[in-house]
Symmetry: C2
Subunit: 450 residues, 2 copies
């Protein structure tokens, strides 16, 4: 049992003052307001629920900033970036992965994310041979989550081909590749790898229509009937062109026409969606997984988020390549991309709410749905996952707190973070930062010298 009192708190039905929250273990027991604080309550100015980071490739955090120069021909794109990423892939051991993932998770927690969906495809040894324990790399991710305390939704990836129509994989992809039987074993072992983690969830992740045939996609989606299904789709115009050439259809159109996509699904990126595809996605109840920082860094393009919202489309945010981990910046950049495209302000703004509150509330709900978490928000029965804000945010009230956090102060305003009832961040720093940062530094030193 623990108890908290917040002067301002964002509850499922909006802002409230003088909010008292009791927790029991990992769960919120009660939320009352307006009430006076009681002796023993931990008092904070402002509390928000923790956000879900619905799409991460933890290992890519190690290459942050190492691909920001043009190639020889001056024609740099996602595909040249991917080539550099595969260089790193060839060299990672399970120990590297654990050290890098723990550091990325610390940054996630310090930035307000209390759960991560790890879209995990780096399965095998460098030569492509499975580890003796097939899920050894998944176990490294779980070990990191155990060290940092972040909530983990593990999404083991099924990856079989290099392109549409079942093209054989490239040598650089050998650490990712399984057949359906191998994937079933990997999934079983992965489930065991996370068995000891509080509140861990497992889902399935057919990589993309490039890497998975339609029969394989159906088989993978049915392996865990009630679990999340995540897939990359329509991130790049090159992918759209290849899909059209192969099938005569655009990727989202092909996916929605081929399988019963529903609220279990998270369609990651969906950047290049036509109006008819937006309508079909919205109708499906699936969550669109937007990764604004990575999508800007990779030059993917802008998802039509304003149109998506008017259709009632659900969405959440992910840090994807982990080039930079910051929940407020993801939300800010999502809105700013729309403003720059339309030359208007406050485009992702619900009636009666501010833009920041709209962004936060929708990303919270969409993220929880995509990561398979039933309860969310500061409410009885939900996980005790929340953050407290400092800086000068207490001089404003209501929606302006959220707007000032997202648009002005950013991650530096985050003071404390609790996940499953445990305080993991205090004074803006993760409680295990010093120890895990030292291990991470040693890891980077050996990895980047190589």
């Amino acid at each position: 049992m623990a108890s908290f009192w917040f002067d301002h708190a964002w509850l499922p039905d909006g802002w409230a003052r003088q909010v008292r929250v009791e927790t029991a273990g990992q769960t919120i027991l009660s939320v009352e307001h307006p009430v006076a604080p009681m002796p023993g309550d931990a008092r904070h100015a402002i509390a928000l629920p923790g956000l879900a980071n619905l799409h991460s490739h933890a290992f890519q955090h190690a290459m942050a900033g190492l691909a920001e120069r043009a190639g020889g021909d001056g024609n740099d794109s996602f595909w040249t970036w991917r080539h550099r990423m595969y260089d790193l892939v060839g060299r990672l051991t399970p120990d590297h992965l654990q050290a890098i993932a723990a550091m990325a998770q610390i940054e996630m927690l310090e930035a307000g994310f209390t759960r991560v969906g790890e879209f995990h495809y780096l399965h095998h040894q460098s030569d492509g041979t499975p580890y003796d324990a097939p899920a050894e790399m998944a176990a490294a991710l779980a070990a990191a989550a155990s060290e940092t305390g972040i909530g983990l939704t593990l999404l083991p990836v099924f990856y079989a081909h290099a392109g549409f129509g079942g093209t054989p994989p490239e040598p650089a992809q050998r650490r990712f590749i399984t057949d359906l039987d191998g994937y079933a074993r990997l999934l079983d072992d992965s489930r065991q790898a996370i068995a000891g983690l509080d509140g861990a969830v497992i889902g399935v992740a057919p990589h993309s229509l490039r890497a998975v045939t339609l029969p394989e996609l159906a088989a993978v989606a049915n392996m865990l009937p009630d679990a999340p299904v995540h897939i990359h789709v329509a991130e790049q115009t090159g992918e759209v062109a290849d899909c059209l050439a192969w099938s005569g259809q655009r990727p989202i159109q092909l996916l929605l026409g081929s399988l019963p996509v529903d609220a279990r699904w998270c369609l990651v990126h969906a950047t290049h969606a036509e109006p008819s595809e937006l309508q079909a996605m919205a109708h499906s109840g699936a969550v669109v997984g937007l990764c604004p920082i990575t999508e800007a860094n990779l030059g993917d393009g802008l998802f039509p988020a304003a149109e998506w919202r008017t259709l009632g489309g659900r969405w959440g945010i992910g840090s994807d390549s982990n080039i930079r981990i910051d929940a407020s910046e993801e939300l800010r950049l999502l809105e700013y991309g729309q403003r720059l495209r339309r030359q208007r302000r406050n485009l992702l703004c619900a009636d009666g709410r501010s833009t920041g509150t709209t962004l936060f509330g929708e990303a919270l709900a969409g993220g929880a749905q995509a990561l398979g978490v039933a309860g969310t928000g500061l409410a009885a029965g939900a996980p005790a996952d929340f953050i407290t804000l400092g800086a000068d945010l207490e001089h404003v009230a209501g929606d302006a707190i959220m707007d000032r956090w997202i648009f002005a102060r950013g991650a530096a305003a985050i003071d404390g973070v609790w996940r499953a009832g445990r305080q993991l961040v205090s004074g803006g720093r993760h409680v295990a930062r010093d120890r895990l940062a030292a291990r991470h530094a040693a890891c980077l030193q050996s990895l980047l010298a190589g």
Copy 2:
């Protein structure tokens, strides 16, 4: 005399290792490399020169996050934002301005800016009457700079009209308005207000072609013959349309065709520039003052920065509305806007350099030119303005340091900041933060309650 030794430092001709820097008072005396450290040297892993923030309206910092909701008609724009900004304008006293400007300057220094160009138009009392000392508000800005130690280029604004063709000003603009004689007095008094500040510079700032007639513009530009001249231009499509309707020409076209614009000039925003306007601006030697965070926040649009660089155009960055103050984020967002527009990566990247190093080097040179500073960079004779970086940046070398700072770690990587030889930021925090933040909190409390 003080001495420093840096393992990595960014010098005018690129990265160097084992760099020893001696300073005398406000100036760099010598730079040597590679050399061993000497006893008494302050040692740091990484040093960069401090950047110029070439465009700021300090007072707008107080409204950060308070205009992020749609208006009643759902058609929110720059112009509805300006209406809210004018509400704040009506209530500010010189004490408010000093408290707010000091906090903004602290954030600038902590984010790597060592000099600010303050585009200052809030001259008079609330009812429009000049203060007894005409430059009382400028003196408040200078007092803030004296407290925080930031380098100040003060740009008193000439503002006379509400629209093209000499339209009379609106009541909400009464605190800005002068005639040419009044402006000349204001300029004299402003020069006295900054006389005691180390390295302070004064320039002139005709507000925009909306607020200044062409004869007034010529008169203002000639008032201080060798000083910087700053003007807002072509920020909004509405302004372009109004200018076309009034003159038959676009704003940049009209400006360059009417006056001898040269390297003294800083053309702020220039967002909506046609190819022929870009060519003429590049030919003039003027600096384009880009404010990517504010331009995104206000929905201005994207300046064609990639095309500008191929013409050899000069540019720098400004924090403008101060909605969020972060040098690395300004540079990152500038590049990301281009990537999203073109769906390619590394668009603002010089041959043989990385994108981060290109962005930094060009913003450094353009900012110094625009703010009237002769020497810049870590070089003998230049001002002793520099920053040191921490985080895990020391695991990479050369350009990757800059890329990892700008694209991955951001402002949190800044450890120390020196301006004119004095250390102002230590451990990422301004040495006077606690005291000035408390005053700022009291100011906001009274201002936002009103």
